[in-house]
Symmetry: none
Subunit: 530 residues, 2 copies
């Protein structure tokens, strides 16, 4: 096996072809930054030729400097009968202005003659020309040999011919795509080895999960000499999805000692997974290897007994290595040191044995049990610590709010109205606001009331609002978690609220956001005097 | 490879060790019957020694005649220093009165000395004695060699010694357990082959999924000569779960031609999966190979085009073989033919050139532009087609709804109240309901009003509720998309609503759900007359 494996993430391209996945340009930029922070070598982020939204994304990316990763645009080889230069999809690929392009072409003779309906010869010309043209523009070029394994099994000579043409065109990488996901590990090993032995060029592997073996198949390809793995970070993609990169990085780097990302980044495997899921607005399968919520959860009595005596008795790795944690399902134990670290930022004199530490851990557990999650809501987390340490005073007291709504509405922008009554140091303020929904009206009414006492609230605006339904089985009576991101033009902070009433969950997150802003204002003032 | 593979399902034992899984005795009996109908060879259904509920289950099973499967009880080898006969766990194993027992014992020297704290010799006696005793009672006995692969890697001589003792005791099967889920396919192949070559006895494999390779590892063991595969039908189990048997049956029987279940049962692979999920009260991961909801769903335009020309262009098997179905996802990228296909289900005389087809496509685009997405909401899509084709009449008219909410609330369960007024054929109905949030109250009030006119609405319940905030940048004024899944006990359908007001978005999806149910009721009635 080689020592370094290049990871190629296609969450934003092949991943976007999964059911229910739809990224905004903003989502894409956030995910690119997360993958860049993890030093993923290649980030395939869109198909500019087929999707105008992707072209806008690539335009926006020009002003963003990636520190570690290479942005990659994806597209097809030129169409039959024209030059690469004339093909508008290839023009779009160039417009995307990325250092790397991945072009896919047909390696299965049946697809050439029956699906894209051209000749076997013209297909070779198409992929050779396209790669040559893109190389002349200074790109690093990957040739994605679509259906390579099915093609090889049907007509090995022609499949190999397509790779030869790609190499002649100047491709930097030959990527063998197991497009239909139907191949078995032994086939992957044998055919990949044949390619590695035949061509003196770097080889990548791209597997799909239709037989539940995309991860194992990718590893067999690495054993046969492939040095690049394509997949998606959380495994979602067309049909049954792509090879799961979070699993593969765990397997190859933690278990086999091959470098996929820098050593000091492995601990971020789980946090990055959760962040990507949050932005994508999906739940991670809780049994997902390495990063899943139950990946290191022990339920059977003998298992808990074993792990208490020696963790490796029922754990193949230490969960902290990948930023995950061990859980005993009967008696929950949390990672004390992580929490202590956060506590000491507020009060450095607290130690792990201080009673405050235990009180905060107990409160966190209680909130987590209620459905709170603090990974995307550090500001709420800070407020909880402050409340427990007595480093908090309420900036206002809610007397009550009342919401009213009606449909049909004369004007959708004012379909809801909300009345808010608060008390600040004995002075009451009653406000009312209208909005295009109850949460919007509530937000406006609360600001209006607070601005009377705290003019800096005027600078705050919400930059993100997300809703996650917890325990979907209870349907409209289910709990919801609302995540809010706020900004005052200088700082950005995130807060969270949970309730079975979406209005109340939003209220909780809104209040935390406003209070956090006011605390930071005071801290800045204090700093100015030191 | 052999021709017949014995399938051993542990959904009710190892599966019950998954987080969030808890079976009643009734649940267990239902699942046993489903697995029996599929001709699963062995059904491991409980641990009578450690769990008194399981003993009750086995008692109840005595009156049930299984047609095809052999019920199996699971337990440990005897404790150190006593005879097998004296061990109360082993007495419970006998009380379970099953034709087959699976006893697990330690194969990893470290576990013997450090976890159960006995001597290496006594461990050999324990498993030899136990098996001998159970054989003397006429049982078919499997020896589950716990941690066999880790044990082999640490001390191969001792690990093999434990197998030898089990064989001496008279075990019918040696089952190699990859308990911690940390092994790689090449190791599994090599070590299993060593066992198969050394002992003249039937060998089974039991894999866990902590590296995402339980399926591939099981297949490698079969290639090395194992003829029994243990796992759980849907893959759930301790930590990351067990080898997924629905995937394995698909891989081995449909792809490799090995017999796991009778040929005419393969078409039940998906229906049985859904039934087990229903009884277990979990959602199947939609990307699950063979049986998942998106396993044969196509979204990318080129994929849809390819499959329309020849299904095997992007499908490794025909979905109907395993009782699943092909789906073309509605999205910006899907082509005309997908939509036409759905239109023709309602009116077969419409062609792609009919003006109705273009009108529907235009309407679809308009709605998608507004934020609608029909991938998860086929029923709303059907209603849109019906409306365009004139095959629709409204079942009721909304006069208005009014929502009221207040915090703090005396009782969170009644924090919101909603008034709904509808008109059905000139008759007005005014209802009011309270709920733990406005959406919940709205849902209750609408049903209450509709039930007056349409009693079958009483059978409908919502099984899933999802909220996606679109365009999060505009924060609380953003549009939201609400997806609702409903069931009447027989059918499941999904609807969608979009609005900047979350209450209105929920209303739209709720109305579609009720109307869809009422249309299907009429269709059933019509069918009864034909």
């Amino acid at each position: 096996m080689p020592k370094k494996i290049e990871i190629f993430d296609s969450t934003l391209r092949d991943g976007a072809q999964a059911e229910g996945i739809s990224f905004s340009v903003e989502d894409k930029i956030k995910i690119v930054k997360a993958l860049d922070s993890l030093n993923i070598t290649y980030i395939e982020a869109g198909n500019p030729g087929s999707n105008p939204k992707d072209l806008e994304f690539f335009r926006r990316m020009k002003s963003q400097n990636l520190k570690n990763s290479k942005l990659t645009a994806f597209g097809s080889t030129r169409r039959p009968g024209i030059t690469a230069e004339e093909d508008i999809n290839i023009q779009s690929l160039l417009e995307a202005d990325t250092p790397v392009v991945a072009v896919f072409g047909k390696s299965w003779d049946f697809h050439v003659t029956e699906i894209i309906k051209t000749t076997l010869d013209e297909n070779l010309n198409m992929l050779r020309d396209t790669i040559q043209f893109l190389k002349s523009k200074g790109k690093e070029v990957m040739f994605d040999a679509e259906h390579f394994f099915d093609g090889y099994k049907a007509n090995s000579e022609y499949a190999m011919e397509t790779l030869r043409a790609a190499k002649e065109g100047g491709a930097d990488w030959l990527v063998l795509c197991e497009t239909n996901g139907g191949a078995f590990p032994d086939e992957i090993y044998r055919i990949t080895k044949e390619v590695v032995d035949t061509f003196n060029i770097k080889v990548g592997i791209h597997c799909h999960n239709d037989c539940g073996m995309a991860v194992a198949n990718s590893i067999m390809a690495v054993e046969a000499g492939a040095t690049q793995i394509q997949g998606t970070y959380l495994g979602f993609g067309e049909r049954c999805g792509n090879a799961n990169l979070s699993t593969l990085i765990g397997n190859l780097q933690v278990k086999k000692g091959l470098e996929c990302i820098p050593k000091n980044q492995i601990v971020n495997l789980t946090p990055v997974a959760r962040y990507i899921a949050e932005i994508t607005n999906i739940s991670i399968n809780e049994r997902e290897p390495y990063i899943g919520n139950t990946a290191f959860a022990h339920k059977g009595g003998m298992h808990i007994d074993g792990v208490s005596k020696a963790t490796h008795s029922f754990e193949h790795i230490n969960p902290e290595t990948v930023g995950n944690k061990r859980r005993f399902l009967m008696s929950e134990v949390s990672g004390k040191s992580t929490i202590l670290n956060k506590i000491q930022r507020i009060n450095p004199s607290i130690t792990k044995d201080s009673p405050e530490t235990q009180a905060i851990i107990d409160r966190l557990k209680e909130l987590e049990h209620m459905g709170y999650q603090f990974e995307g809501a550090e500001s709420t987390f800070e407020l909880i610590i402050r409340k427990q340490l007595g480093k908090y005073r309420p900036f206002f007291e809610l007397i009550h709010y009342k919401i009213m709504g009606e449909q049909p509405a004369a004007d959708p922008e004012t379909s809801s109205s909300v009345l808010v009554k608060i008390n600040v140091d004995g002075q009451e303020e009653l406000t009312v606001a209208e909005g295009n929904g109850p949460v919007n009206a509530l937000d406006k009414a609360l600001r209006k009331a607070l601005e009377v006492f705290y003019p800096s609230i005027r600078d705050v605006h919400l930059t993100d609002y997300k809703v996650r339904v917890l325990d979907t089985k209870t349907a409209t009576a289910a709990k919801v978690r609302v995540l809010i991101e706020s900004s005052d033009g200088h700082n950005v902070w995130s807060t969270v609220g949970v309730s079975s009433d979406i209005i109340e969950a939003s209220w909780i997150a809104l209040v935390d956001s406003m209070e956090y802003k006011l605390i930071k204002d005071i801290e800045e003032k204090v700093k100015a005097y030191i």
